[in-house]
Symmetry: C2
Amino acid sequence: MRVDELDAKIVRLFTEEQRMSVLEASRILKVARATVQARLDRMSASGVIGRWVPQPEPRAFGFPVVAFCFLTISQDLGHDAVSKALADIPEVIEVHTVSGDSDLMARIAARTNSDLQRVLDVMMATKAIVRSSSVIVLNTHFEGRTLPLLEAAARG
Amino acid sequence: MRVDELDAKIVRLFTEEQRMSVLEASRILKVARATVQARLDRMSASGVIGRWVPQPEPRAFGFPVVAFCFLTISQDLGHDAVSKALADIPEVIEVHTVSGDSDLMARIAARTNSDLQRVLDVMMATKAIVRSSSVIVLNTHFEGRTLPLLEAAARG
DNA sequence: TGTGACGCTGAGCAGAATGCGCAGTCTGTT
DNA sequence: AACAGACTGCGCATTCTGCTCAGCGTCACA
């Protein structure tokens, strides 16, 4: 979908002030309320705005450790079957099929470094994974920063 | 913060039905409206609920390509300085300092594979990065799936 | 056993926002 | 010139929110 600057301004408003109402946004942007509604509906329908939900932050409820694991899977199982098996493990936050030496990449949350070891063992116990190698996150500078990209897309 | 099952149910409700109102949630869960309000306030204040905002999805507005880049930085610059430089590039969605062979890991969005090359060139042009190696995402099975972990934490 | 802190409840009320519909206007395209 | 699409400004009934209050059960601690 093509987005314009008004779309980006609307998203920015609702991002910076989560208590924002549609009416208030229309006053700030000096457009009709129906316009803001229509833009939001359009962006939701087209998927430009995906999740607008309370995002639980693992680090805030006891899971401060994050790691990315590169997984090599059993050749007799497909990627989808493996990702379904991984989906049963709550500590697995994110799974991609990737290019390169590994087959899958998973983002893992854990309580401690040794708890991370336990989660890795649980993954290996599914018999779906042949080999894994992990990269531990030492510091997160930023994440989920998609608004600047939306604004860039709106400008050009 | 310690979360209980009611907290998890509240988050699940608002996740599954984004039009959910606090009043409606209190009716479904058969608790007082003030209780739902208090739980939401408590989870927001403690950071368990971080972002509750419209999350732009790059793939929906022209950036379907995702890659993870492992970066080696110039020794004379700190990680923070480099991440600040990267923050000026809208295609950079996420930056972590990581363990292992590389210094930083960045998540990049791009319009096409060759556009990804352009973004990598922009990153190299900052002179902050000595070397980069990329992993391209071929398929995303799921991401941002933190609710199961919250529910696991609520159970015990 | 007494006391207080804490959380949940049910209720009420004024103000605000929402969902919905409608007619008019503007703009770019065919 | 006609048309579709988007924006506007308006109104209305309904719903939700923010705020307050007193009452009640539970738990920890003195």
